[in-house]
Amino acid sequence: MSMTGDPLKRPSVLLIEDEKGLAEEISAELQSLGYRVQHVDSVAEGFSAARAGSSAIMVVDRMLHGSDGLSMVEALREEGVKTPVLLISALSSVDDRIRGLKAGGDDYLTKPFAMAELAARVEALLRRLDDVRTTKLRAGGLEMDLIEQTVMRDGTLIELLPREFKLLEYFLRRPGRIVTRAMLLEGVWHYRFIPETNVVDVHIGNLRRKIDIAGAPPLIINIRGAGFMLHAGA
């Protein structure tokens, strides 16, 4: 097992997936990011592994060998298992999604998806937002005042449109974490579809022009094939 991080520091993921190929890829992706992955391929094994409670997050396929991953999650929630669950499914309608979240899933990913998307969402679930009551968010020389609705960079006030403010807030709340385009569409615009043109990139470009200073490294960087990340240490 090759790991880039400290195996004890990185949390363990319980993967319940019966499609061998997909399971291998998910395991490989998560392991390459330093997670420990425990893979089982049936509801029964999933139950016992989840009850053991050693994993920090579960990735559950909604359909397992014809049985229902959703009812498993539901049953676990009733037993009081609170481990966050990322559901993956071939069913993508809004109703299916809502049913998935109602059953106790914390996030829902529709096949086919990019591995980077899965990784970003696993990370987002593991690191819940810090304190939501925070009134000030900071990154590098940037400071956002949530009460005054103002943004300062190195003491200079930056004028942002309301949506740009929301977009920046989304990044500031997730410093150093990969944020995908789909996550931004959902979290900032509440869109459940991916537009054909990359409009999100245009919005990010506009935001960057306003918050970056010439000569300094950009605050928000592109992560190839995945999305964006706010440079935590910048």
């Binding site: 993508s92 309608s93 869109y191 537009p195 043109t197 245009v202 506009n206 094939g225």
Partner: protein, 456 residues
């Protein structure tokens, strides 16, 4: 093989029920006639007797003796009873023995009225006794033989008729039931043929349709729709095959070329290119699934009162920076609320696809306009651009899945955005069409129904 099938059928049960119902009804009628006839003839006898006794009681001795004698001589059939008793109870004249009925002048039924003639047997009769002024007793009566005979005749007729009637009812019932049963068997056979895959046959519908014909007609309409959908599915799978095979073939070629070369850098480039082809294929699949999802969704439960103006403003805000980045002027005209019933998320998606399309096809310096309004009581949304427009011959087909226009080849995307918008419009009972914007294209999405009442 039809006969046993018929015997097992509900048609037979129907025939039996019909026969029984007929029989019960006729028996009731007969019974009523029987009761009425006997009651009427008996009551007539009673009133005549009472009347005669009343008159006779007041005759003089001479008159009554004459009358009694006359009646005795005329009574050849021994139907009449007549007698005059003295005050002490001895029979003065007549043909009845002593009977104990009250001398109240009212008719009484006597089951055995005694005859004085030794050759006569006692029979049931109705008798009236009345005291005369001198203390003697006049008794008149009539044998009930006639009434009883009538009664028997009616009863025999009833019993005799029930059998044939039952048979006839059975026959009529069976005839109709069999006819219906035959129709159903025919329908059953036709459906069996359809289920075996012969989708061209249809259920028979007569010129003057009854309930079964109406159901058959509905089934036929359903079959037409199924055939249409099957064709559509076939077309779509043909198109999917085409649209996925192309990127797959490109991918294959690129990867093979990359592997065949000895240069690692070349392989990386090839892999990256293959991945972008794969992205395209995934986008196509996602869009296709999205269309069928919307098409199979039920208009209904999720629908709420939504404001198309607000949704336009929201989508406009999302796309405005894109327009600016491409030097396309963006204009929004949605000042007053346009309420309608629908799914806000889907409507947003439809409008986003229309604007996405408009911005894509508008050259630098052009204009894209988005407007929402209530026109003639109906909600209307317009998206216009100043691009190359859509040729008249293509205007209907542009919303079809995979319809290739020259437009599509120049721009990125699955080319399915308009199909998604059309599917969403249809789900909302909106019409989506494209017109000439002189220059450019004008997409009009308008509700077929009246605009919903503004939420209170």
């Amino acid at each position: 093989m039809r006969a046993p099938e018929f015997l097992r059928s509900s048609a037979l049960r129907l025939a039996l029920a019909f026969a029984i119902a007929m029989t019960v009804a006729s028996s009731l009628v007969f019974g009523l006639v029987y009761l009425r006839i006997t009651a009427v003839s008996e009551s007539r006898v009673r009133s005549i007797l009472e009347d005669e006794a009343w008159k006779g009681a007041n005759y003089s001795d001479e008159e009554i003796k004459n009358a009694v004698t006359q009646r005795l001589t005329r009574d050849l059939r021994h139907l009449d009873y007549v007698a005059l008793f003295s005050e002490s109870g001895t029979l003065l004249i007549g043909n009845v023995g002593k009977v104990t009925i009250p001398a109240d002048g009212r008719s009484h039924f006597v089951s055995e009225a005694p005859r004085t003639d030794p050759g006569q047997k006692s029979e049931p009769a109705i008798l009236v006794a009345r005291l005369r002024p001198d203390g003697s007793l006049l008794m008149l009566g009539r044998n009930l033989d006639e009434v009883f005979t009538l009664r028997r005749t009616v009863l025999q007729a009833l019993v005799g008729a029930i059998g044939p009637m039952l048979l006839m009812a059975l026959a009529i019932g069976a005839f109709f039931a069999r006819r219906e049963s035959r129709r159903l068997i025919h329908i059953h056979d036709t459906i069996a043929r359809i289920m075996r895959g012969d989708l061209q046959v249809r259920l028979p519908v007569r010129r003057r349709p009854d309930e079964i014909d109406r159901v058959s007609r509905d089934v036929n309409l359903m079959l037409d729709e199924i055939v249409r959908l099957l064709l559509q599915v076939k077309n779509v799978s043909d198109n999917i095959a085409h649209d996925l095979r192309t990127p797959l073939a490109v991918m294959c070629a690129k990867l093979e070329r990359g592997l065949a070369g000895s240069d690692d850098h070349e392989l990386r480039v090839a892999t990256r290119q293959a991945l972008s082809e794969l992205d395209k294929a995934m986008m196509t699949i996602t869009a296709l699934l999205r269309i069928s999802e919307v098409e199979s969704a039920l208009r209904s439960s999720g629908f709420k009162s939504i404001d198309l103006s607000a949704i336009c403003a929201d989508v406009f805000e999302f796309y405005e920076p894109l327009g600016k980045a491409r030097s396309v002027a963006m204009v929004l005209d949605a000042r007053s609320p346009v309420p309608t019933l629908g799914d806000g998320d889907l409507m947003r998606e439809a409008l986003a696809n229309l604007i996405d399309n408009a911005v894509k096809f508008t050259p630098e310096g052009g204009t894209v306009t988005l407007s929402a309004a209530i026109e003639a009581g109906r909600p209307v949304v317009r998206v216009s651009d100043s691009g190359s427009g859509v040729a008249p011959g293509e205007r209907d087909r542009i919303f079809e899945r995979f319809y290739r226009t020259i437009r599509n080849d120049r721009v990125p995307g699955s080319g399915l955005g308009l199909s998604i918008a059309a599917a969403i419009a249809k789900l909302h009972d909106f019409e989506l069409r494209v017109e000439d914007n002189r220059p450019g294209a004008l997409f009009i999405m308008s509700g077929r129904g009246a605009s919903a009442k503004a939420p209170p």
